[in-house]
């Protein structure tokens, strides 16, 4: 009844090309954004449910936003360009450590030249974006093999990135500013001179990043370059014959994807973790991101959010429900249960709905258009 586009005529090209062509969608998205930018801070300010304590912000909303951002990055590479990657964790790490180095000042001693390269500590926003840039450069480097190899072989090649950078950040002390424990702590986070400290400020900062990057990503994938990526994904040889340059299309996908994943990594380290070690970006993180993308929906920006929310909430859910029911479950059992449920769900979704939650959402929307009539 409410969700019907009858009577909405597109009278200009701009209206035809809108991101959300249906008015109800536009209203919904704007309402959601208003709630996220205004509603949640208000709830947190007055300590109303569910934001009575910091827990909801710190343990659910902030990681959800950052992981969604990372999932968008992975989705561009895996879902839109079809280049499967098991090394996303490494690119998050590159973003995090590069941002850390730029944020605390870079000193490269060049003893054989008798000089050194020194960069004073940069503002945090600049550091985070530079972290993304470094990740993009490395992403291009590791994307070069994709020109010769594809599919499963490429998946193994990206594993090389994962293990190599795990090692680099563990062993090369320069990256951790020679911290004896190998763990580093993020410097204070100033946003244009304003100290971002309380959970709600951190949340808003993440929200700004995620909104901007989601918008950019959405526009990229429905534009020229996004269509090239999808052509490469669907059949690379046919795409090449049609005049799409695989070199350009694949490497831009690697670059954009790594940039977003790198920024997400920097945010993850600076805003969510605060102090971290290389273990935070291990292959488990890569697989987790891949799962988010598969479960949420390959080739869907919305799916990245849905997948991230699901993968994040599942362990919390499995932890809380037995407690609520009074069933005693050890921490170990919960972690095993999470493994089993995640794995089974992936198999189930691949069989029943290969396009993930995003597809379910669009089916629901189709039904909603006709509601309350069956057809």
């Amino acid at each position: 009844m409410l969700y019907r586009e009858a009577g909405q005529f597109k009278t200009s090209y701009a209206a035809d090309m809108a991101i959300f062509p249906i008015r109800q969608d536009r209203i919904g998205v704007i309402a959601l954004l208003v709630f996220a930018f205004v509603g949640i801070p208000l709830l947190a300010h007055f300590q109303l449910w569910p934001l009575g304590s910091d827990y909801f912000l710190r343990a659910i909303l902030i990681p959800f936003l950052i992981l969604s951002l990372a999932a968008i990055g992975v989705n561009i590479l895996v879902g839109y360009c079809g280049q499967i990657s098991l090394g996303s964790g490494a690119f998050m790490a590159i973003g995090a450590y590069s941002a850390y180095k730029f944020g605390t000042g870079v000193h490269i001693p060049l003893e054989f030249l008798g000089t050194e390269i020194s960069i004073a500590p940069l503002p945090m926003i600049v550091s985070i974006l530079l972290g993304g840039l470094m990740a993009a450069i490395v992403g291009i480097l590791f994307g070069i093999p994709s020109l010769r190899i594809k599919g499963l072989y490429l998946a193994v090649a990206t594993l090389a990135a994962q293990f190599f950078f795990d090692w680099v950040f563990l062993r090369v002390k320069w990256f951790t500013n020679y911290a004896p424990s190998g763990s580093v702590a993020a410097p204070d986070f100033y946003f244009f001179g304003y100290l971002v400290n309380s959970p709600i400020e951190r949340y808003l900062l993440c929200l700004v990043f995620v909104t901007i990057f989601a918008l950019i990503a959405k526009n990229l994938v429905r534009g020229n370059i996004g269509r090239q990526w999808m052509a490469i994904r669907d059949m690379d040889i046919a795409a090449e014959l049609m005049g799409i340059r695989p070199l350009y299309a694949k490497l831009t996908a690697f670059a954009v994807s790594s940039f977003i994943v790198g920024v997400a990594g920097a945010l993850w380290a600076f805003i969510y973790l605060g102090a971290w070690e290389p273990l935070a970006f291990s292959i488990d993180r890569s697989l987790q991101l891949l799962f988010m993308v598969i479960i949420g929906g390959l080739g869907s920006i919305l799916g990245s959010f849905l997948g991230a929310a699901f993968i994040l909430i599942l362990p919390i859910f499995l932890d809380q429900v037995p407690h609520a029911l009074g069933v005693p479950v050890t921490v170990e059992t919960v972690s095993h249960l999470v493994f089993i449920v995640t794995g089974a769900l992936i198999c189930y979704l691949l069989i029943v709905e290969p396009h993930g939650f995003a597809r379910l959402w669009s089916i629901a929307k189709e039904k909603l258009r006709l509601w309350p009539f069956p057809y």
């Binding site: 010769r148 190899i149 599919g151 089993i340 995640t342 089974a344 069989i351």
Partner: protein, 309 residues
């Protein structure tokens, strides 16, 4: 002579360690050849087989059953566990996914990995369980030629012997038996094999069963060497570069690839690692594989990939 002796020792140790990677890689190759599925779950299957074996052994030994009987029963029990796993995977995951493209199947096996890891540890426990099927001490060989002799650990030699036997058995199975011929037919073309009356679901069950038994074999050696524990899954990931180097479809490739990776990473660790910080064993195999990929995308022994529109 001392330098050369040390080199030989590193080389032999590396080659024998490489055989262990080959054991896991074999399981990958079998499944890939017979069903076109790139089985990420092979490492998890090694873990599951090892856990089933070591836990049933502990259980029986604690009840006073003689060791040799316990070992036989334990191996049987683990084999049954792997058979059940194979049946479940074939019935509930791969059966419904028939005719999907390789990437979907690959992601499904990542899902299977998680289920096996979770369920295996939930049922059998998640500690480090020592397994002692083979002797773990070392021999010193060629004492007369090199000062102090060369150190060769017995478990690695056992691993080599077992891998050799396994390859021989598999070769006979694939070349000489009716089921083996059917397996090769299915590998060539699913539809054609089905149309001449080969029961494809049964064949896939057999493939996963064989892969499970290969995993069990690998688990006996790895379990003795490292103890049965979760990190076996990550070590088994090393089988992936082995496959890349050897080629996805070649049994000899899996062996040779394993030897190259094993020897390469040990030598790199000893001679290169000390200059750049150590621990490069962790990633050397992958970078080696990457280098091979750039030169020969199908691996050393793999079939050339011909693409059509």
């Amino acid at each position: 002579m001392v330098v050369f002796g040390q080199f030989l020792e590193v080389l032999i140790g590396g080659l024998l360690a490489g055989v262990l990677y080959s054991l896991v890689a074999l399981g990958f190759v079998l499944i890939f050849k017979a069903s076109g599925v790139f089985n990420f779950a092979q490492g998890a299957m090694v873990l599951l087989a090892g856990l089933a074996l070591v836990r049933s052994l502990d259980f029986m030994v604690a009840r006073g059953i003689p060791t040799w009987a316990a070992i036989v029963l334990g191996l049987l029990f683990a084999a049954v566990v792997m058979a059940i796993t194979a049946a479940i995977i074939q019935r509930f995951v791969l059966g419904p996914l028939v005719n999907q493209d390789g990437l979907s199947l690959f992601m499904a096996t990542i899902g299977i990995t998680f289920v096996i890891e979770g369920a295996g540890q939930m049922i059998f426990g998640s500690d480090v369980y020592p397994l002692s099927l083979f002797p773990t001490d070392a021999w010193f060989i060629l004492d007369g030629i090199f000062e102090g002799g060369l150190l060769v650990s017995k478990i690695d030699v056992w691993g080599g012997v077992i891998a050799g036997a396994l390859v021989a058995v598999l070769a006979i199975f694939f070349q000489r038996t009716k089921t083996g011929r059917a397996l090769r037919a299915v590998a060539d073309d699913h539809a054609a094999a089905e149309s001449v009356g080969i029961p494809i679901t049964w064949i896939w069950f057999v493939v996963w069963l064989v892969a499970g038994l290969v995993a069990l074999t690998a688990a006996t050696v790895w379990g003795t060497k490292l103890g049965v524990q979760f990190s076996i899954v990550f070590l088994a990931l090393k089988a992936l570069p082995v496959l890349i180097i050897g080629g996805f479809t070649s049994v000899p490739g899996a062996i040779v690839g394993g030897l190259i990776v094993g020897a390469g990473e040990k030598i790199a660790e000893v001679y290169l690692g000390q200059h750049i910080g150590g621990g490069i064993e962790y990633w050397f195999a992958y970078v080696l594989a990457l280098a091979v990929l750039l030169v020969r995308p199908q691996g050393l022994f793999g079939e050339r990939i011909i693409e059509r529109i």
